[in-house]
């Protein structure tokens, strides 16, 4: 097997690979990669280097984990996960990512492709108009500093109190859309100034809003799909991928600087400056945790405002209320976050960086509607290939601290993608295949071409075979908005 590493990578099962702790000085636990052999051989060298760096962090438990969508990231690889002892372990912005609570939201409808196809152009035009995207975009919500503090504390609840959503939306959002313990006093003015105008904006890069179809023949688990409100029969759903925008990035940048100094004080050394960390119980660790929760809550609020705009647009285009169109949130998941969760070892600080929580059936954190099925997991593919809905499993709880993949994972640089196709050309090609794309930046569009990503079906197959998530439905894009 030809891998991008000289380290030993041992097969545990056909979907689990282990780098022993002896492979790098300082590793405290082995590193485990979830992947098929095909995916493993395509992984870049950064994955192996970075996941073994993570395995060196103080207080890590069991394994440093990487999912099949893993690729090089800052500090942790994207697709990385690790759990640290709450009392003796660390917290690291490099294990959360710059875009705190970057995540996915899926909204169902009662509409079918036959209903939407004749009005798809108008629908996408209106969505593009009402959901700002691209460089420096600003949302319609005007919040002063006091109100933005409330956004940080309350997250999606703040939006619903102002009429941007339905009360029962909250139960369909991870952490009910608001993580306790968010403390705005731990946030710099600089971060607030970057984020205060951005509520309800998509951003750019790989963020998007997508109108998708759930076809009957792409439902893999019909009872689970029904529980999630996915009926098949060419049902229309809407997927949103975005996070905490400039605000979350500034929080991460601010605390990386704080942690560089904190590490010296706490006598911690790391293999990579981007793994800067502090003991979770330290003042710096607690300050970052509070600040990160502020950013996470702002991301929940961001996706909630976008949801409000989506419902308004559908209502206007189809001439009836969003309620009568059945536009319920299926679920909203964070895939860049650190959280305190209980496992047999006790309370652990679980970092997921490009990795989704995938709690199995019965977990008390899940809303009643999903207690039997397990937590919905929403995984976005490239804008050309489609996306998936899965559900969490008991096995994920046992093996991966309730974590799984988040998307397809890039395999090609942005520059190479732009050399391979022009944005306008890609837009026309996709239109011929029945996918309407509205993009602020044509070069940005080219960077996100489907061939720049792994095949998401291969990635989903890997986690499904490993049993850490079970696939429920594949969703095919028909309309996409990009920054």
């Amino acid at each position: 097997m030809n891998l991008q590493t000289h380290m030993a990578v041992n097969r545990i099962t056909d979907q689990i690979w282990e780098i022993p702790a002896a492979e790098k000085p300082g590793m405290l636990v082995p590193a485990r990669i979830y992947a098929t052999e095909k995916i493993l051989t395509s992984m870049d060298s950064g994955v192996f280097e970075q996941i073994t760096n993570v395995a060196c962090l103080p207080g890590i438990r069991r394994y440093a984990l990487c999912m099949p969508d893993g690729h090089w990231g800052y500090g942790f690889p994207i697709g990385g996960g690790a759990a640290f002892d709450r009392d003796t372990g660390v917290i690291s912005p490099g294990g959360v990512g710059y875009d705190v609570n970057c995540g996915m939201r899926l909204i169902r409808t009662d509409l079918t492709l036959a209903d939407v196809a004749p009005r798809l152009e108008l629908l996408m035009t209106e969505l593009f108009r009402r959901v700002p995207a691209g460089v420096g975009s600003r949302g319609f919500v005007r919040a002063n500093r006091h109100e933005f503090d409330e956004v940080m504390r309350k997250g999606a609840r703040w939006c619903i109190e102002r009429g941007y959503g339905w009360h029962h939306d909250l139960e369909r959002i991870e952490e009910q859309g608001g993580i306790p313990g968010a403390d705005p006093s731990k946030i710099s003015d600089y971060a607030v100034e970057r984020g205060i105008h951005q509520l309800g904006t998509l951003g750019s890069g790989n963020h998007y809003l997508e109108v998708q179809v759930a076809a009957d023949d792409r439902i893999f688990d019909r009872p689970a799909a029904a529980a999630l409100g996915i009926t098949g029969r060419d049902q229309i759903v809407v997927m949103v991928h975005c996070g905490s925008r400039g605000f979350g990035h500034q929080v991460a940048s601010d605390y990386l600087t704080v942690f560089e100094k904190a590490m010296r004080r706490h006598g911690i050394t790391v293999k990579d400056q981007q793994l800067a960390c502090a003991p979770f119980r330290s003042q710096e660790g607690q300050d970052y945790f509070s600040a990160m929760n502020c950013a996470a809550n702002s991301a929940f609020a961001n996706r909630q405002v976008i949801t409000h705009q989506i419902r308004e647009v559908f209502s206007a285009v189809f001439g009836t209320s969003a309620e009568s169109l059945g536009m319920e949130i299926v679920y909203d998941v964070a895939h860049n976050i650190a959280k305190v969760e209980r496992y047999p070892e006790g309370e652990l600080v679980v970092h997921r960086k490009g990795s989704t929580r995938a709690f199995g059936p019965g977990r008390p954190e899940l809303p009643e509607i999903y207690r039997r099925t397990g937590q919905p997991v929403i995984c976005g593919g490239s804008m050309e290939t489609g996306s998936y809905v899965l559900v969490g499993t008991d096995r994920a709880m046992q093996e991966t601290f309730g974590s799984t993949m988040h998307g397809s994972g890039r395999t090609m640089s942005r520059a190479q993608a732009k050399r391979s196709v022009r944005g306008e050309q890609l837009q026309q090609q996709m239109a011929r295949r029945g996918i309407i794309v509205k993009a602020v930046s044509m070069s940005g569009l080219a960077e996100e071409a489907g061939f720049a990503y792994k095949n998401i079906s291969d990635v989903v197959e890997a986690v499904d075979l490993a049993g850490i998530t079970k696939k429920v439905a594949e969703l095919r894009p028909i309309g996409n908005i990009k920054g």
Binding site: G46, I78, H197, G203, S204, R245, H249, Q250, Q273
Partner: protein, 146 residues
């Protein structure tokens, strides 16, 4: 050596990286700023309608460059500005003293109708970040989170 930059493909697959060079620190800072600017917008589509003055000082030239580039990202988000031109003077009052930056960014508020917008730079990162004196002048490597 003039102020130049080139994008690097083998550092950050999902993001964007560049190497900037200049024969002086001032040229290095100008080249690096231009790299950040052109990542976000085609500068020729931006009109020179306003200027933002940035004065900073730091013991470390490397930290000073980092903050200067982060300022461009901040102004894009907080004030909704993109830029066309950059001028800057970087130097020390005396050998071993603090580095001082006197920079000016010229541009205007973002207008998607007129500006050719590109990628939204969300952070200047510390990954493989360095700014140092090289044999032929000054050089920096910067990875931007997109």
């Amino acid at each position: 050596m003039a102020a130049t930059f080139r994008f690097l493909e083998d550092i950050a697959l999902a993001d964007s990286a560049f190497e900037a060079r200049g024969s002086t620190p001032s040229e290095l800072f100008r080249a690096a700023a231009q790299a950040v600017i052109v990542t976000m917008v085609a500068p020729e589509t931006v009109a020179p309608r306003l200027t933002k003055s940035i004065l900073r000082q730091d013991r470390s030239l490397q930290n000073l460059l980092f903050d200067w580039l982060a300022d461009i990202v901040y102004l894009k988000d907080a004030e909704g500005l993109v830029f066309r031109d950059v001028t800057c003077t970087v130097g020390q009052n005396h050998a071993g003293g603090d580095w001082q930056l006197d920079g000016t960014l010229t541009g205007e508020p973002i207008d998607p109708a007129r500006h050719e917008l590109r990628a939204d730079v969300k952070a200047i990162t510390k990954h493989r970040y360095e700014a140092r004196q090289d044999y032929g002048g000054w050089i920096a490597t910067v990875v931007m989170d997109i």
